[in-house]
């Protein structure tokens, strides 16, 4: 029974390995990818349902008792995120068939894609801080492969910076883990939480907490460490940008959520205060970036940053309401970012340019694309009845309840500016008259709209069907406030 917990990692990993060998036969590779992403989604959904019904599944590798061996912890939070990641993987797989050129498909896109999913699922599921590093590396190395895929000038230029910054933070991660090991003598998250609780998190441990925050802030694109993100996320092909935007930064956010709700929760006046301040700056600077450019892909890439700000705000407030908001927003943001990248990718493919000033009146020829984008824009800004509304409402309500009025107001204002930044694309790109001097290239985009529509269905579901999802999320958040719940569920025999 407990072996189920490894399937979300094992299935994409094996698929990836098999696809490497079949690489010469592209139609077969496409078919296997199509089948396996769907199988994978079905499997993780069943496991997630099981976990939410019957409680956390803990896999002890090699049957070593908990603090000594490697553990995978499939708790409801991790499983919800794994399911969302797999929904995105399905959409990306189907988008890739329609959007990637054959050259890129041949050069191991599908194996790398599967390995990325394996790494992301592993990072969500692991119950061990060092293994978190290992899975981070798995997904990062896959992402290194993906970001240079195709090998254009810009890709090399930006990916080199992306790799160096990630390598640096990975090395800092290892060093920090070794510090932590020296102080508390374990890398198992449950045991870490227990022992840090016993010594009531003194100065050394708080320093280590801040070091870990720097590591995850780099991966999760938090102020002031987000500078690498916008450009490196716009140079690869759309489907890869969507994968990165939807999954990679969210793994960083998830790590912050885990570490600062489970392990380092005894010195809130330092660690969570820093989180709050960083969240405020992340919100403001991210949205300024989104307003500063006319490149539609860059606008969407910049919009990743304020979303991270909201989630960190929820973690910093650290009440059950705000944490529920963070989890809800995390689910929403993964889906909506992928959908937006898809739609903008289709828009760029149709218009033949990513410069907003050269577009206009696209909705006349592509009404479906236009209205889907409109829905996605409203969902991103957090207007009801879409999914962003509920997450934002909970985060901001938590902030106001705990007396963080300034941050709450910054959050509300940022929301408006986010709406402005995306609706600018809608007004200038879709409305108005087609600009006569710039003829759209008119590439077919039908196959590109369907995956985005598929994701938007989930957005609408998360918004309108909140009563199906929200109770689970609230239970997760209620348990998260007290680390003892996680510790008990892992340490129990």
């Amino acid at each position: 029974m407990s072996n189920l917990a490894i399937l979300p990692i094992l299935l994409p990993l094996l698929t990836g390995i098999i696809l490497v060998f079949l690489n010469k036969r592209l139609p077969l590779v496409r078919l296997i990818t199509r089948i396996m992403v769907l199988v994978n989604l079905a499997v993780v959904s069943i496991i997630a349902f099981n976990v939410i019904q019957n409680g956390t599944i803990v896999l002890k590798a090699g049957d070593w008792t908990v603090p000594y061996g490697i553990v995978l912890v499939a708790d409801p939070l991790a499983m919800l995120l794994v399911v969302t990641a797999n929904i995105i993987s399905v959409a990306c797989a189907f988008y890739a068939f329609k959007s990637l050129d054959e050259q890129r498909e041949r050069y191991y896109f599908y194996p790398l894609f599967q390995l990325l999913i394996a790494g992301v699922s592993g990072a969500f599921l692991t119950g061990d801080l060092f293994n978190l590093f290992v899975f981070f590396e798995v997904l990062l190395i896959a992402s290194y492969g993906l970001i240079v895929l195709g090998g254009t000038k810009e890709q090399f230029r930006e990916s080199f910076k992306y790799i160096i910054i990630n390598l640096f933070s990975s090395m800092l991660f290892v060093t920090t883990v070794s510090f932590l090991y020296a102080v508390v003598g374990t890398v198992n998250m449950a045991q870490l939480a227990e022992r840090v609780g016993e010594v009531q998190q003194d100065g050394v441990l708080t320093t280590i907490a801040i070091l870990l925050l720097i590591v995850f802030a780099t991966k999760g694109a938090l102020f002031p460490l987000y500078f690498w993100l916008p450009k490196s996320y716009t140079v690869p092909p759309t489907v890869i940008s969507a994968l990165f935007g939807a999954l990679l930064t969210k793994v960083g956010v998830y790590s912050i959520l885990r570490v600062f709700s489970l392990i380092f929760v005894y010195n809130l006046s330092v660690t969570h205060q820093i989180l709050l301040i960083l969240a405020g700056f992340t919100l403001v600077f991210g949205v300024i970036g989104a307003l500063s450019t006319n490149n539609v892909q860059l606008i969407i890439a910049y919009n990743i940053i304020p979303a991270v700000g909201y989630m960190i705000l929820g973690i910093g407030v650290f009440s059950a309401t705000a944490l529920a908001g963070t989890v809800y927003y995390l689910l929403h943001d993964m889906i909506i970012k992928a959908a937006l990248f898809f739609l903008v990718g289709a828009m760029v493919a149709y218009a033949g340019t990513s410069d907003l000033r050269k577009m206009g009146g696209i909705i006349k020829n592509q009404p479906l694309l236009g209205w889907l984008f409109f829905i996605a824009a409203l969902a991103l800004a957090g207007l009801p009845p879409f999914s962003g509304f509920i997450g934002k409402l909970l985060i901001l309500r938590g902030a106001f309840e705990e007396g963080h009025y300034v941050l709450g107001i910054i959050g509300l204002m940022t929301s408006l500016l986010i709406l402005l930044s995306v609706i600018r694309i809608f007004i200038n790109g879709f409305w108005g008259e087609p600009k006569s001097e710039y003829v759209p290239s008119g590439n077919p985009i039908k196959g590109k709209i369907l995956p985005a529509a598929f994701l938007l269905v989930f957005t609408v579901f998360l918004g309108l069907g909140a009563e199906f999802v929200y109770p689970t999320v609230q239970t997760i958040a209620d348990q998260m406030v007290d680390p003892i719940n996680y510790i008990d569920s892992v340490m129990k025999e």
Partner: protein, 112 residues
């Protein structure tokens, strides 16, 4: 002994950071390699250095080496080895495609 190792790791970090801040791609890669060496030294030092002892805990053995850091360092070395070799290839291709290995010249405008 731990003090000396920590100082050594610190020196590696210093040199690594200095190299990362250089403009030539190859120097940056050497910098990341130095950084990872520093990190690995830290891992092995943090598990307390006990020379000449087996990493085994069984009945009757009172003096032993902590085996966990050794497992961690091995994993970490393999990863940094792989990434460094990837980086070298990437650096070469970047140089070929962009015609420069100077980071100052590798800053670009919008990709249009």
């Amino acid at each position: 002994m731990e003090i000396i190792m920590s100082v050594l790791a610190g020196m590696l970090f210093t040199a690594g950071v200095y190299m990362i801040l250089q403009k030539q791609i190859l120097k940056i890669i050497i910098g990341t390699a130095l950084l990872s060496h520093g990190a690995h030294l830290f891992i092995i030092t943090m598990g307390k250095l006990n020379r000449g002892k087996p990493p085994i805990l069984s009945e009757g053995v009172t003096s032993y080496v902590d085996p966990l850091p050794q497992a961690l360092i091995l994993t970490s070395i393999v990863i940094s080895f792989g990434v460094t070799s990837f980086l070298l290839v990437l650096a070469y291709r970047t140089y070929q495609t962009n015609g420069t290995d100077n980071m100052e010249k590798l800053r670009g405008n919008d990709n249009e």
